[in-house]
Amino acid sequence: MSAAVTLIFAECVAAGMERVRTEHEFPMATTPTAITEVEIHPDVALVERAKAGDVSAFETLVKQYDRQIFRVAQHITQNREDAEDITQDAFLKAYQKLDQFQGNSKFSTWLVRIAVNESLMRLRKRKTSKTVSMDEDVHTEEGSIPRDFADWSPNPEQLYNQGELGDILRKTINGLPPGFRTVFTLRDIENLSTEETAEALGLSVPAVKSRLLRARLQLRERLSRYFRQKKESTA
């Protein structure tokens, strides 16, 4: 980044501006005065303050993302204590490596990537053959071809109480291969974009789309069996 652009950027961050106009870093020869709109995420200012030693700014980021990081770790490890440890380790690692965060991606995506790596490392440490790889079982087509064509009516929330439904949702998503479960978690539960999910997991965009489709179809198929059973037993 040029000194001028860095200066404009720093001034805008200091002023708390969320949307600024800045000169294009490498203006094309034919349009030397080209102006590009750049959106600055509010987290950027917090990260800059934390880098400068403001611990309260980092604490704000912790409060903002702790639940998300915990959920991601819990979905991958399926263990509450591990998820709590991973949440702490991920934030500590992020704090130690703040200088390496260049702002090319969202802070939250960078943090999720750290948490995913920590979670996978934790699984490897368990030394079990189960769920140590994001690529495990992703080539299976089981459940990816729809077989159940019954509508869910009335709504599942009307058929089950909160506790029962929670158990079904946990049991069902835990049955997915880790490579599918993690993509579904980031994309559909945590609302990361396809591109952000790809970046956080080190996958290509087509790979994320393929896994997401199969994850959604497998979950639908498995939930459908529950809801159909419930409907039939209450009929």
Partner: protein, 78 residues
């Protein structure tokens, strides 16, 4: 459009990224294929039900404990 063709585009369909030239084909297929219509509706419900239910909740006490532990570790490494 066959059901297999539709399924291959379903992720893009949910994300509003189906190429314009295929949108009418997708809509026409959904109008005439009750199976794919059910698959779309129940898949959408699947996504919504997971979005709406926090299946791994963190209590206030646990969050407070984690915050303190995180900030204490950060203070140690300064």
């Amino acid at each position: 459009m066959t059901c297999t063709d539709f399924l291959s585009k379903m992720t893009d369909y949910f994300d509003g990224q189906v190429q314009p030239e295929f949108i009418e084909e997708v809509r026409a297929h959904l109008c005439e294929c009750s199976h794919c219509e059910v698959v779309v509706n129940t898949t959408r419900q699947t996504i919504e039900i997971y979005k709406d239910h926090e299946i791994y909740e963190l209590s206030t006490e646990t969050r407070d404990r984690m915050h303190k532990a995180i900030m204490a570790k950060c203070a140690e490494c300064r």
